[in-house]
């Protein structure tokens, strides 16, 4: 969480660079409920949301539903069922049970809503010792576990690593400018050079 100022996204939307984007925009509450519906095997979710906003005019995926008891109109959003859900968690055991804690957000729903799932973890342990606030995803709803220590970087993994705030700040500079960004893509992503943001 905390993805910064989204310079590249904003450039793509306003100037179509490097190409135009197709957008479907929701509120966080709406998105969370789309995952809930997806995880629940329901085709849609009901919420008090979007009422009076211009978001409803920009997508077919915000509609209304009438309560069959009170007649009240509420917002409806369609279930989200991704082909693949990818999340990062703290650890897994050798059977593939996954344990995560801290702010788990909508991660359980994302896995349960997806046809298949990949969970990257900080480490694999012999036994998932129970701990406060921990959520366990049983192995039988996780398709693959991959060991990727630091897989949340530059964000953090509670109990394993802190947020790399300097990276976010350096990234903001890189992301702000098309040339700097393109150079970063070429050098770091394509040619594998050391990430200048990391050394910040």
């Amino acid at each position: 969480p905390g993805v910064g100022s989204l310079h590249r996204f904003r450039d793509a939307v306003t100037h179509g660079w490097p190409g135009p984007l197709e957008l479907e925009e929701h509120s966080h509450a709406g998105m969370a409920n789309r995952y809930v519906a997806g995880a629940s095997g329901l085709p849609f979710a009901v919420l008090r949301g979007y009422g009076g906003t211009d978001l409803v005019h920009q997508t077919e995926n915000i509609r209304s539903v009438t309560c069959p008891f009170t007649g009240e109109e509420l917002a409806a959003v369609p279930a989200l069922n991704p082909d693949v859900g990818i999340i990062h968690a703290q650890r897994a055991d050798r059977d593939g049970n996954v344990q995560m804690w801290g702010i788990t957000g909508v991660q359980k729903e994302a896995v349960l809503a997806s046809a298949r799932s990949i969970v990257t973890v900080e480490e694999v342990v012999d036994e998932l010792e129970p701990r406060p606030g921990a959520v366990v995803l049983p192995a039988w709803v996780v398709t693959y576990v991959a060991v990727v220590p630091g897989g949340a970087h530059p964000s953090y993994a509670q109990g394993y690593s802190e947020r790399d705030n300097a990276y976010y700040q350096a990234w903001d500079e890189i992301g702000r400018d098309r040339d700097t960004f393109t150079r970063w893509l070429d050098d770091v992503v394509r040619a594998g050079a050391p990430d200048p943001a990391r050394s910040a």
Partner: protein
């Protein structure tokens, strides 16, 4: 944002208009039990309130932390410290569905990139064409439902004629829509924005017209300045008051909090 100016009160240290804004916003949380906090200016003000006059204030962040007690300003709504210090951490669906939606949270504390005379908030696009905006803003986040469902809403935003407009280009979060009765018609159950706190003063909705009216000017700010920084004909309350300047304690705590931003 603007340069520091000396307070008219001689015994108070110099403070910036941003500091005045955060202090004024923190005071809006007097006698409030629970506050749903957006990141940025609202988070600064809410934490200032908790560190000064409102130690029992329950901070709710949309990442799912109920009763977080950060001792520095969180870097994001997902800051691990929020979970570490919370009374309870719940999932994101739960925070919206069980906690925000039923109106359990007294005050929603929101920022705004653009806001209009009826306190509608735009954080989506600047420009008339959604598909080809002049400026793309970060988007809705949790704001539409915070604005809809909290007991009432307090907005914190820097004032300028580009930001305080007659009609927002895009309604991301509803204030009073097009005027009286609109919230009820839309089924929005919270009372909506009751205070908009800027770096120049404080606006409140007129009880009849729902239009934002200036009720306070911060020390050293003139009505002229406030009107210049507003795109509509900004009305002023008959009893237009001057905000109390930040106290030494408020400033000290605020600066200590702000200093934590660079610490990690």
């Amino acid at each position: 944002m603007t340069a520091a100016r000396t307070s008219p009160a001689a015994d108070v240290a110099a403070w910036t208009t941003d500091e005045m804004m955060s202090v004024a916003a923190s005071r809006a949380l007097a006698d409030v039990g629970t506050c749903f906090v957006g990141i940025g200016l609202p988070s600064t003000a809410a934490n200032l309130a908790r560190a000064t006059h409102a130690p029992g204030l329950v901070l709710v962040y949309e990442s799912g932390t109920l009763g977080a007690k950060p001792d520095r300003l969180p870097l994001s709504i997902g800051d691990g410290m929020l979970a570490d210090t919370a009374d309870s951490v719940v999932t994101v669906p739960e925070i919206f569905n069980y906690w925000l939606q039923p109106g359990r949270v007294e005050v929603g504390f929101l920022g705004a990139a653009q806001i209009d005379r009826f306190a509608n908030i735009n954080t989506t696009v600047i420009g008339d064409d959604y598909a080809h905006p002049t400026v793309r803003l970060p988007g809705a986040g949790g704001a539409p439902e915070i604005a809809a469902s909290c007991g009432h809403v307090v907005v914190v935003a820097r004032q300028s004629s580009r930001a305080f407009v007659d009609r927002v280009d895009f309604i991301t979060s509803v204030g009073f829509g097009r005027g009286p009765g609109d919230r009820e018609r839309l089924g929005l159950r919270g009372a909506g924005p009751q205070m908009v706190i800027t770096d120049l003063g404080i606006m409140e909705p007129d009880r009849q017209s729902c239009e934002l009216v200036l009720t306070h000017l911060h020390p050293g700010v003139t009505l002229e300045q406030a009107r210049e920084a507003t795109d509509w004909e900004l009305g002023a309350a008959a009893d237009l008051a001057t905000t109390l300047a930040p106290t030494t304690e408020e400033l000290e705590v605020l600066r200590r909090l702000e200093a934590t931003k660079g610490s990690r």
